[in-house]
């Protein structure tokens, strides 16, 4: 009998330690990633109970959320940030965990660092106290965000109690048009299936669009699974995956790599794999997309107008009205032409080298509009170095963008980079929630890095295809 399990269920079955009294499964966690914000209380829980870390070599720590992207001299100007930095240094030292701190050239945003070091591999279970852990699913792993009590459990036992989710296959077939990027695919899926459409599901992304994507593009889509309510999303491993991992420092080397590659490919869902649900989209329907509201499902194609309240299902209308009110936008208003104050390229969604290349391609030879403050924040020190080797930093600076050090920066504004007052930010990040970018009344428009660069130059939301001739995906 053939094995009709999809990748998710194969990987899940490999990691079941035992069934628990609650009916949940105790699941082994292959890789644990931690950062400074959601870990200090977890280490304290271990101390309070007199526990050790069971597999310290299976946890990797970095710092990203609170670190400044300009002046990184210690102690930080923010006492609270300094206290958190000191805490993770002390905790990692005491419990024997490797920490990529600011002095380590491998430091960066946790979901950028894991893949680029080869820590993230297919067939693993990967967790981190951060909802965008879904990023790592791009490799064909089960990767999901957890809370701090769960961080403590993983530190102490390398396991978590979990209930098996359902699996929905999302196929996107055809070819993306010029100027349409992985970010647009993610925003399109969330718009179609809703911000809670994925609750209870793991998403398997498939179809010719995903087959053709680079690993960095797959990471962008998987990253935003959680914005559609799915705790994890994945792409089946293929030759693109193998080629990406080969030679990375934490990856198996030599003959071991060949054994690993064979194993990884064997986990992929087969043609007769079974799913709880399947949805199919056509790439031709996806346009450069911009959010207009206060959740990532509230978006339109750049040449569309914002819908009338009555055009939404009755159960969503109160939320649509709240969003229009907060954003100071009207029904039927075109999103194109909306003036922006700030532009931000960065984050675990779109802070990789390919994102910076696309933004630089648009920026080259132009100037940031006088009224716009524009930041380019590489997702890791290695991304920053690569960009500088390619001269991208010069392109950005000559165009009037600020070139910053690696960190989460203005995605969530736990550091000095934030909006003020009612500013509107064109942002390559993942959330447009009220107050997300640091000002309680600040406003966020999510879009691809190329669209952010175009908006920075025009000073307003524009269709990137009218400014430059982007190569596209």
């Amino acid at each position: 009998m053939s094995d009709t399990r999809n990748l998710f269920n194969r990987v899940w079955d490999n990691h079941v330690v035992r069934e628990l009294a609650s009916g949940q499964s105790q699941i082994f966690i292959g890789q644990h990633l931690i950062h400074e914000v959601t870990s200090p209380q977890a280490f304290q829980m271990l101390r309070d109970r007199g526990l050790k870390v069971m597999y310290p070599e299976r946890t990797l720590a970095t710092v990203d959320h609170i670190i400044p992207t300009q002046n990184q001299a210690r102690p930080f100007a923010d006492d609270l940030a300094e206290e958190m930095m000191s805490a993770i240094e002390k905790n990692c030292d005491e419990f024997g965990i490797t920490l990529l701190d600011l002095k380590d050239h491998r430091q960066g945003v946790v979901h950028i660092v894991g893949p680029e070091l080869g820590v993230t591999q297919p067939g693993m279970t990967i967790v981190c106290g951060d909802s965008h852990t879904s990023t790592h699913g791009a490799f064909g792993s089960i990767a999901m965000g957890i809370g701090t009590s769960q961080v403590a459990a993983v530190l102490a036992t390398q396991t978590l109690p979990m209930s098996r989710p359902k699996v929905r296959r999302i196929e996107v077939n055809g070819e993306l048009g010029p100027g349409v990027f992985a970010k647009d695919v993610a925003l399109f899926i969330i718009r179609k299936l809703g911000v809670q459409g994925g609750v209870g599901y793991a998403y398997e992304y498939a179809g010719t669009v995903f087959d053709a994507m680079t690993m960095e593009e797959r990471m962008t889509v998987c990253n935003m699974s959680i914005e559609g309510g799915a705790r994890c999303g994945y792409v089946n491993p293929d030759q693109t995956t193998i080629d990406y991992i080969r030679g990375r420092p934490f990856a198996p080397q030599g003959a071991a790599f060949e054994r690993a590659a064979e194993y990884w490919l064997s986990l992929a869902s087969g043609p007769d794999a079974e799913y709880d649900d399947v949805v199919v989209f056509d790439a031709a329907d996806i346009e450069p997309t911009v959010t207009w509201g206060i959740n990532p499902g509230q978006s339109v194609g750049v040449n569309e107008e914002i819908g009338a309240v009555d055009s939404f299902p009755a159960s969503e209308r109160a939320g649509v009205r709240e969003a229009l009110d907060f954003m100071e936008l009207q029904e039927h208003q075109p999103i194109k032409g909306l003036k922006i104050d700030v532009a931000f390229v960065g984050s675990c969604t779109n802070g990789r080298i390919s994102d910076l290349r696309e933004a630089a391609r648009v920026a080259e030879g132009h100037r940031v509009a006088d009224h716009v403050r524009a930041l380019i924040v590489p997702g890791s020190q290695q991304v920053r170095q690569q960009a500088e080797e390619e001269g991208l930093d010069k392109i950005f600076e000559e165009a009037g963008f600020q070139w910053r050090a690696a960190g989460c920066s203005m995605c969530l504004a736990m550091n000095p980079d934030k909006l003020s007052g009612r500013e509107i930010c064109a942002s390559s990040s993942n959330r447009n929630f009220k107050g997300r970018q640091g000002s309680p009344t600040g406003r966020t428009l999510l879009m691809s890095p190329a669209m952010v660069a175009a908006a920075a130059i025009a000073g307003e939301v524009v269709d990137v295809r009218e400014i430059a001739a982007p190569v596209g995906v």
Binding site: S131, G229, M414
Partner: protein
Amino acid sequence: MKKIVQVTGPGIPLLLDDIDTDRIIPARYLRCVTFDGLGDHVFKDDREQHGDHVFDRDHHKDAKILIAGRNFGCGSSREHAPQALLRWGIEAIIAESFAEIFHGNCTALGIPCVHATPQQLKHIAAAVEADPSLHLTVCIETSTVTHGDTKHDCHIHEGTRTALVSGQWDYLGELLEGEPEIRATAGKLPYMTNFA
């Protein structure tokens, strides 16, 4: 282990959909190494922008049971969100649906997440608004919410319900008991030896 079988107390209605954890506790309050004091900042920005927020109303100050809408707790995985609600005084949440990470965080803290229909939620919220001192009773064993003579049959995820009533929601001890099986599972995973 503490068994959680029932929560009784006044309710507080917040029937909005898609309330994200940034709204429950803005990121600037995550610059901390303990969860102490987070209760003071729950819904901070909403409360400052809109006077008369339900969490500021004196007649709800003793509330223990939050009545919410659809997809409550979406977004960031921050456990600071349920920690802030708990420290403000919330011991149970009834909603149409919950974001999964938030739901897991609540269970790990012993906060029952109860699923109810929009009609049930409207009915419960109306009863609480009519009499804020009204005591609601969330019974975990039967997945019901009761006030006065009215009983609503609701839903609690089976694994969660069993974990709460058995005391296994505080799962660290149970997980640790599986150490031999943990090591056996690890031994079968090829990446644990880097495919040597």
